[in-house]
């Protein structure tokens, strides 16, 4: 399942609803990405996430389907926010549930790596020096590539 929304999310409530009543689930891994308070030397006042409505949902759904095809997951969920956020705010939630922990951990890392290089979101940081679009990190491409071709 995937969702793109302006609103905040409750990670535990989402994870609980996702596996409720499914007693085949033994491991639930949850990733939450937060807005950090600094970019290098500069203090971040706010962060605005722009996205491409329509394509975002398609890309997240494709990534989710890919993870479901690669690992024996009982359930998975991606929730990604857009709009204006403050340091400490939640940006993204990825939940993976499986009978065994290896699948839940690996699928979760895969989803986070891939959504960072595929999902059409762009971060605009506001600091005392003004507004600045965040550059893509080569480390993210590298992290995504280790999973092989999509």
């Amino acid at each position: 399942m995937i969702r793109v929304q302006r609103e905040d999310f409750d990670a535990a409530a989402e994870a609980k609803a996702l596996v409720a009543g499914n007693h085949r689930v033994g491991s639930v891994v949850t990733f939450v990405g937060l807005v950090r308070g600094a970019a290098g030397e500069a203090t971040i006042g706010a962060m605005t996430l722009e996205h491409y409505p329509g394509m975002t949902e398609r890309e997240l759904a494709k990534i989710d389907a890919e993870a479901r095809a690669r690992w024996p997951l009982e359930a998975s969920l991606i929730v990604h926010r857009y709009g204006r956020l403050k340091p400490g705010d939640q940006i993204v939630l990825v939940v993976t549930a499986s009978a065994h922990r290896q699948a839940a951990f690996a699928a979760n890392e895969f989803l986070v790596d891939w959504l960072k290089t595929k999902a059409p979101f762009w971060k605009l940081e506001s600091t005392a020096q003004g507004e600045q679009w965040v550059d893509a990190r080569a480390a993210d491409d590298y992290a995504a590539k280790r999973w092989g071709p999509k």
Partner: protein
Amino acid sequence: MKVLYFSWLKTRAGIGEETVTPPAGVASVGALLNWLATRSPGHAAALANRSVVRVAVNQEYATTNAPVGPNDEIALFPPVTGG
């Protein structure tokens, strides 16, 4: 043909969305980018460094030689930075 610009491509081009009618010979992503770059100094600045311009045709990632037509939605944006 609808063209969308995101992130700093939108800022540089000075426009977020426009409907364009390129000449008949402009039938691929690459040709479209070349033609769009001639529309204004802002467009030229936005498209100056093609290595950091990503393209989607009808909301799917596309490469330079992918075909484009009058009914397509083309989106231009830098490498993504979500998550």
